[in-house]
């Protein structure tokens, strides 16, 4: 049974990895630079009801100053509602403001959340393109919680409101690294409310430590350790959870 389960997981992961790879390989053959990404997350928190294991596959396509990307997060082990947990698209435009190299970023994220609830999150931000020791991101996000129609016991028209919006939230990331950002290896740390797949409220910052290593000019490895505390801005901080992430990025 365990062997069948592991085989099933492997086949599902392979299927999504192949789909993403084929899409971006096609773009690469046709036009410009393509980057493929794969992550594995393992962690646990107060709300996860045990440990979870998630994998993610994504790609980004860059042409001149523009970048378009997408990433899908899949549930491997855990209480998430469905196999496809999160789908995220992002776009980036490199700009210069008074000779300062910056990036203008936008993302759109769909989170399956639970069998009854889904979340849509849209955000725009600006970040530096420095090759120094620090990276900053600052922006705003718009969150919508919605009830899945399948969870309703009456017709949707009988409900006053099936969505709640939280608008103009603050998103941020402050990261510091011991080496310049383009160094072969690096160790860094961040305070942020942004993760690839979850955007927290501005008053719930997350901490992470990163180890980055470039195998060669095309392949980069990353290992991240995330720590989550609740209630920091209640000035009554409590443990909430942690997760570890291992990832690889391959520039074609």
């Amino acid at each position: 049974m365990l062997g069948v389960f592991i085989l099933h997981l492997f086949l599902m992961m392979t299927k999504y990895f192949l789909i993403v790879t084929i899409i971006f390989l096609s773009l690469h053959v046709a036009f410009g630079q393509v980057r493929l990404t794969s992550n594995v997350d393992f962690g646990e928190n107060n709300a996860s009801d045990g440990a979870y294991l998630m994998s993610a596959f994504g790609g980004a396509y860059q042409m001149d100053d523009y970048l378009l990307g997408g990433i899908v997060q899949l549930k491997m082990i855990g209480k998430q509602a469905s196999l496809v947990s999160v789908l995220k698209f992002n776009a980036l435009k490199e700009i210069e403001l008074r000779d300062i190299p910056l990036s203008l970023n936008a993302y759109l994220m769909f989170n399956r959340a639970t069998s009854s609830i889904r979340e849509t999150n849209f955000g725009i931000s600006i970040s530096n393109r420095s090759r120094g020791h620090f990276k900053y991101v600052l922006g705003s996000n718009f969150r919508t919680y919605a009830i899945n129609y399948s969870a309703l016991d009456k017709s949707a028209a009988d409900y006053e409101q099936l969505r709640i919006h939280e608008n103009f939230g603050l998103i941020y990331n402050i990261s510091g690294y011991i080496k310049p950002l383009d160094h072969k290896w690096n160790i860094g740390a961040s305070i942020t409310n942004i993760d690839y797949f979850l955007i927290n409220q501005a008053t719930n910052p997350l901490y992470n430590a990163q180890f980055l290593y470039s195998l060669n000019s095309k392949v980069k490895l990353r290992f991240e350790s995330w720590f989550k505390q609740a209630g920091i801005f209640n000035i009554n901080a409590h443990y909430f959870g942690y997760f570890f992430r291992g990832g690889i990025t391959w520039q074609l």
Binding site: A47, D49, A113, Y145, I147, N204, F233, I235, N236, A237
Partner: protein, 281 residues
């Protein structure tokens, strides 16, 4: 230079507020008594004392609730407790940040409270009640911060669940307990109301924090699956109300004396619905 001056000013403000018993710097990093330990103690208290059942003679009754009284000042809490003695009021729930966490202020609150024979009052700890190691004093006076009580009328029974979110998270054990309560008991009751200090949604930009998004997903899922009718929060100090599916989410004003817009919440419960009003002070 300007940045350095701002940093120094900020540090001085923090130092002064800390030394004036408003909050502790260590709260940004840790807490005196964590949510799991508080929950264990609450369950011990519940096992020893049981869960309250209030019988009302009529099918229509009221529940009043307040939050953020932040005692010291007692003017508004006195007005609230006066209303609590009205005949149609089944219970008065104090939804956190009742004091500053200092033992003296908990004693001030305790001295204002009427006897349990005249008012069925219930208290939930908020983040401020936990400052300066306030939990032992809160627990000594009020006992559990995670519990439910039941109101019985001639025709129906209603369930009121009080949850401890003073630390910004329910914690694993309390989430599991809450889920089990809803699973086992919800279907036996007409209405289900959840009261907890920390507001779940951000209806406006504010520095007050909320449970983490992952926890919010789980709670919203529970509210939908088990048809929770009303969720009453405090913490944000400013009223707000939104309906989401079956559930009406209400945030109360701060009852604190210095608040010009102080009010408390009155929920009117009858056969057809739960309606609520903010009673301005």
């Amino acid at each position: 230079m300007a940045t350095l001056k701002l940093l120094i000013l900020g540090a001085l403000v923090l130092l002064i507020t800390n030394s004036c018993n408003i909050f502790e710097m260590k709260g940004f990093v840790t807490t005196h008594v964590g949510v799991e330990e508080r929950f264990d103690q609450s369950m011990e208290w519940n096992a020893e004392h049981g869960y309250a059942e209030i019988s009302m003679p009529n099918n229509e009754y009221s529940i009043i609730a307040m939050g953020d009284s932040h005692l010291g000042g007692t003017e508004n809490i006195k007005l609230f407790l006066n209303h609590a003695q009205d005949d149609e009021v089944a219970a008065a729930v104090m939804v956190g940040d009742l004091t500053t966490g200092n033992k003296e202020d908990i004693e001030i609150l305790w001295n204002e409270l009427p006897s349990k024979d005249s008012v069925n009052y219930f208290a939930i700890a908020g983040n401020h009640d936990l400052y300066f190691d306030g939990w032992p004093h809160f627990y000594e006076k009020f006992g559990s911060s995670s519990y439910y009580f039941i109101v019985n009328t001639p025709s129906n029974n209603d369930l009121f669940i009080c949850l401890d979110t003073g630390g910004g998270t329910l914690g694993k054990s309390q989430i599991a307990w809450f889920s089990q309560i809803l699973e086992d008991m919800r279907s036996d009751f007409r209405y289900c109301v959840v009261l907890t200090h920390n507001n779940l949604f951000r209806f406006r930009p504010t520095t007050s924090t909320n449970p983490m998004v992952e926890e919010l997903h789980v709670l919203l899922d529970l509210f939908i699956k088990h048809e929770v009718d009303v969720v009453v929060n405090a913490h944000d100090h400013k009223r707000g109300e939104k309906v989401f599916g079956n559930t009406n989410f209400i945030i109360m004003d701060a009852l604190q004396d210095i608040n010009k817009n102080a009010s408390f919440l009155k929920m009117n419960i009858d056969a057809s619905s739960i309606s609520s009003d903010y009673i301005d002070l």
